[in-house]
């Protein structure tokens, strides 16, 4: 089955963003990071564990009516480093890009150190510096190397 056939399992979108080549099983984490929970009323399609030549299995997310900026999608590199971003206008791909590793992510991950000030009721977002082999809390220095999705902040 070609990639195109797979795409047809979920309908094409007219305007919006298609996030492709998400590591299999991470689609819901992608939506959580982007803060997309369906409450805005936009159509969101999710396809999980589709066969992929490159990844073995991949997830695909299509968000109707919303063009995600590079800053918004770069944070996805933490859990879906191979993801590709397609901006769609009038059913055509007008922009194609990849996620790039940001130097800092804010308000995305929860610090696992329960004694970190960012876990308190203070007017501050969590902030992690992104390194080659993990992320590090800029407030308490705690390093997270493994299982980043488990640390995604609940909305």
């Amino acid at each position: 089955m070609s990639d195109n056939d797979q795409q047809l399992r979920v309908s094409k979108i007219q305007n919006g963003t298609v996030i492709d080549h998400i590591a299999g099983g991470q689609a819901l984490n992608v939506l959580a990071i982007l803060g997309i929970d369906g409450t805005s009323g936009d159509s969101v399609s999710v396809a999980m564990n589709m066969p992929s030549d490159r990844l073995g299995h991949k997830d695909v997310v299509k968000v109707e009516g919303r063009e995600l900026s590079q800053d918004e999608v770069d944070v996805l590199s933490l859990i879906a480093p191979a993801a590709t971003i397609n901006i769609i206008r009038d059913y055509e791909v007008v922009e194609k890009g990849r996620v790039e590793r940001p130097s800092v992510v804010e308000g995305v991950l929860e610090c696992p150190n329960h004694n970190c000030i960012t876990t308190e009721d203070e007017p501050v977002d969590s902030r992690f510096a992104v390194g080659d082999d993990g992320v590090r809390c800029e407030y308490c220095d705690t390093i997270i190397r493994d299982d980043l999705p488990a640390h995604i902040l609940a909305e």
């Binding site: 004694n115 000030i117 220095d141 390093i143």
Partner: protein, 304 residues
Amino acid sequence: MRHDHIISAKQLSRGDIETVLDHAADIAADPGAFADRHSDTLLGLLFFEPSTRTKMSFTTAMKRLGGDIVDMGSVESSSVKKGESLADTVRVVEGYTDALVLRHPMEGSAKMASEFVDVPLVNAGDGAGQHPTQTLLDLYTIRENAGFDDLTIGIMGDLKYGRTVHSLAHALTTVDARQHFISPESLQLPRSVRYDLHEAGAGIREHTELDEILPELDVLYVTRIQAERFPDEGEYREVAGQYQIDAATLDAAKDDLTVMHPLPRVDEIAHDVDETTHAQYFQQAHNGVPVRMALLDLMLGGDQ
């Protein structure tokens, strides 16, 4: 020095450290010359945790510079008890004072607080995080007694939760000290500190017993192992007992070994050590005043 806030020993370069220590030495040599230096200055003290030495030496330092302090008092008697956030508290108090000193039980509190104020803020201890002014007075004591050249130091006790250890270990990388860490396995350095020391190219070695390394040391820095770090009293007593020193222990050390401790001690250094020439922990505590005077003077524009 061009730091608005002093949050972590990690922000201090070798040059910064030498600047503060040189200035502290000048002040210690002639404190009277600095007595009216900051006569219009009010220092705000925000201590969310108990403190004796740090709070008293900041108070003394500010008063010896001619200024005064405004003290929030204990948490029980303040608006924090009513649920005020730290960010709000510091924004209010900065309007009363020219600089702030903060101690707080949570890691990262000083960094966060510094993002909400324009006056200089000094971290006087944030949970198990950092305690940079303790580090500066430790470094001052080390430089006075052993010097920074070809320095071999042993740091013993609770290396996992001891914030003085985390700050000091990082600062010692700027003087290329050989660092030996002596602790029970359950209280070894945390991953983040180890990572930083590795990144800084530090030569560090870890031990579970002091004996194997004691004869090589120029400085032995002892910290307290706290009972609450252990599941039960029996295990605490057994482990802590292995990291106590007395005068007889030091027979195996160099004659000019300097023994330091951030205090308070409980029983990790026996009282018979006090009478030896090795003991420098009381002088170390005294050094907190000139060092904090130097830091405040530099932060408040004394070098201009």
